[in-house]
């Protein structure tokens, strides 16, 4: 059995076109880091650069059926890396660049399905470059962009000079909600210390699990919020007919436009929606403030008008159970229509499934390896397409070493790591993917404890 140390580490570099991959690669190749690096990229032919080597590869993705496991892998990488490993002057490091639109799955899986690769190489990290300015154009509707974020061990928010700090905070929060495991760094011109992306060493689950998983992707009881700047006076909230005869709403003061204040008000709104709702009929006054959970009852036909009065001018945040567009709703006052300064949509529970999220689990006790294997095999058979990555540091009964574990889609691989030292033996596991059911995962994992 080869130990982890004797295998050559591989970094997979992903990111959309223009995110700065080439800049980063050139930096890696020219920087004096004292390592001998082989780079496999899509564009150029094979060139030797000083000590390093750049090999052009044409992505050849194929599907592999192996018993009940089905996965896609990169055939070109198996060939090229297989050959590189025969060279006597071994490389210290291998980097694989993917095309912008690539799903990182096949590349990552390649390192698990082939024995030769598994014996000689290990996937050190998937590094995803994110164009901090343009990522918003992709992150909601591009599966590849989501997957690139979800698969990453390290995320480099690049081109931060092109965005303002608040947007950057939002972006970082959004990315954390999708992948709580990744280390996130910010950069300009892809300038980053090499030790942040090379020899990352894979496992740092503690950090991922530091963020209380319950807050990673809260399930909001509302779908929409809008921030309005309101002066003293009376206002009308006008709603047309919609899919439901009634809708929950809350109107809360907002201290300022800053992200921290917004988060505070958001939490107030969650608490408010947990209160008993109070019916408000058309023509009645909508109640304002924390704890006031309004149930807006619509007229059977036509528009319904709800009123409210503002005593203190300032920012207010209106939260609605459904998207106002579904009811052609609008806020009016002195002006017939007041536009919100900013809006935000929240994924409702039922659509939530499609979002990429992380589920981190920590439990004490020793696991029974056979049970774990059985559970994972079944889980991955059923949900392997939706589970992008898994990582774990486990406490296995009868083993005095930490058991390191990781997987990509339906493939997984575990091996003993260093001995447990002055630390509590416990099991940490994280799943990243779609349609993750935290309760089911937690229960399944718990069932694997040695009785």
């Amino acid at each position: 059995m080869n130990t982890v140390e004797s295998r050559v580490p591989v970094t997979v570099l992903t990111g959309f076109l223009g995110s700065g991959k080439t800049t980063l690669l050139n930096r890696i190749l020219t920087e004096n880091h004292g390592k001998k690096i082989a780079v496999i990229e899509n564009e150029f032919g094979e060139v030797g650069i000083d000590n390093d080597l750049v090999i052009g590869a044409e992505e050849e993705i194929f599907e592999m059926n192996n018993g009940c496991i089905c996965c896609t892998v990169r055939g070109d990488l198996i060939r090229i890396l297989g050959h590189l490993m025969k060279r006597r002057d071994k490389f210290d490091y291998i980097m694989v660049e993917t095309t912008g639109m690539a799903d990182p799955g096949p590349v990552a899986q390649t390192f698990y399905v082939d024995d030769d690769m598994q014996q000689k190489l290990h996937l050190d990290a998937i590094v995803t470059l994110v164009d901090a300015k343009h990522i918003w154009e992709h992150i909601d509707d591009s599966d590849e962009a989501k997957e690139q974020v979800a698969f990453a061990d390290v995320i480099l928010l690049n081109k931060i000079d092109l965005v303002d700090p608040e947007d950057l905070e939002k972006l970082e929060a959004r990315i954390k909600s999708m992948n709580s495991m990744a280390k996130i760094y910010r950069s300009r011109d892809a300038v980053v210390e090499m030790d942040k992306i090379l020899n990352v060493g894979g496992f740092n689950l503690d950090r991922a699990l530091e963020i209380d998983p319950k807050f990673m992707e809260p399930e909001y009881p509302f779908e929409w919020s809008g921030i309005y700047q309101l002066n003293t006076g009376t206002y009308e909230w006008v709603m047309g007919e919609g899919p439901d005869p009634a809708m929950g709403a809350a109107l809360l003061p907002l201290a300022n436009m800053g992200l921290a204040a917004q988060e505070a008000t958001l939490m107030d709104a969650v608490l408010t929606f947990s209160e008993d709702e109070q019916a408000v009929e058309g023509g009645e006054m909508l109640r304002l403030g924390k704890g006031q959970h309004n149930q807006l009852v619509l007229n059977e036909n036509g528009e319904t008008v709800f009123n409210f009065a503002i005593q203190e001018p300032g920012y207010y945040m209106l939260f609605t159970e459904h998207h106002p567009d579904e009811f052609d709703a609008r806020l009016g006052g002195a002006e017939p229509v007041l536009d919100p300064l900013e809006t935000r949509e929240y994924k409702p529970d039922h659509e939530h499934d499609e979002a990429v999220t992380s589920v981190g689990i920590t439990i004490r006790g020793d696991l029974q390896l056979e049970k774990l294997n059985g559970w994972l095999s079944q889980l991955l058979r059923e949900q392997g397409q939706d589970i992008f990555r898994m990582k774990g540091v486990l406490s296995v009964r009868g083993l005095d070493k930490r058991y390191e574990f990781q997987g990509v889609h339906m493939l997984f691989d575990g091996r003993p790591d260093r001995p447990w030292e002055n630390e509590m033996r416990q099991n940490k596991m994280i799943f990243i993917g779609r349609k993750l059911d935290r309760t089911a995962l937690e229960n399944g994992f718990r069932e694997c404890l040695a009785s």
């Binding site: 050849e60 592999m64 192996n66 055939g75 050959h83 025969k86 060279r87 024995d115």
Partner: protein
Amino acid sequence: MRRRKRKTRPAQPALKAKWRANIDDHPIGLAWSPDGKTLAAAAVSGPITLFNGDDGAVQHKLPGHVLDTMAISWHKDSRLLASVGQDGKVRLWDAETGAQRAEMAGGSSWVERVAFNPLGDCLVSAAGRKLRLWNSCGELLREYPDANSTITDIKWRHDGRAFAISAYNGVLLYDPAEAEALRRFEWQGSTLTLEWSPDGKYIATGDQDSTVHFWMADTGNDLQVWGYETKVLELAWSFNNRYLATGGGTQAVIWDCSGKGPENSRPIMLEGHQQLIKHLKFQRQGMLLASGGNDGLLAIWKIKKKNPAMLADAVFKAPIASLAWSPDDRCIAVSDVSGALSIAALRRI
């Protein structure tokens, strides 16, 4: 595949080293000239050494390819050696003078495969998806339409009148006189290597998805066997067309193709390797099979239906990188990945 109890026991040592050498690099290929006088050893970093087959004297050291040599193949008359490599070239070397006789462009930056016609005067090279047919002067005879994906292997039928290539999606069969493929053997998987049965009836393939296929060359029927531990890169036919030896694990799996063929049959399993078998070669006119593994073990097996036996073994310090029977079947050339090369004679057993 079923495990069977180990019944074999190493016999008296029957391998005796004739000569040894060290090429000090990972050999990607050992190839005897058809007349048995010369052994070519190609190192991954490029150089190709031509040894005198009898005593190991170095006849020539060919520079090979600047960025790694990937494959070598002898002309039938032992006069020319073809090599391909990562400089994108096919090179023809004069084995007598050591001079380069021709240099051709393979069509892509990595030329991975080359195969001289065993009975003719032409050779085929594969670089990525490019397939080219040349004569022995280095003149391009034909450029074929690009394959669907990278060509992983080329093998001539033993009569030299057809050749087959493997790639993702199976196997293509060509007549060197025709531009179009004669037949396609399609499989939704990555086919890594192929081997013709000496009578040309079967094309056996080894696949990334841990399967082996027996294609009937004339009908295109496919018999698939699975259950291998890993991808299958090791295939060897016995000269009498009876057995196909396959690797893909720590045990060699031998299929009997006589009678009704391998379908529903139970293969012979050879146990003895501790790690993955990486090389399998049958004698050219005998029934001995040589296996080499990542455990450094070279084993010589006598293949028979009942009680197959390991007749001889030798252990190298590093995984076996290449092995080749001499044309007269009396010696076997073996090298491990460090480049330690041993030519052993087989005592009459």
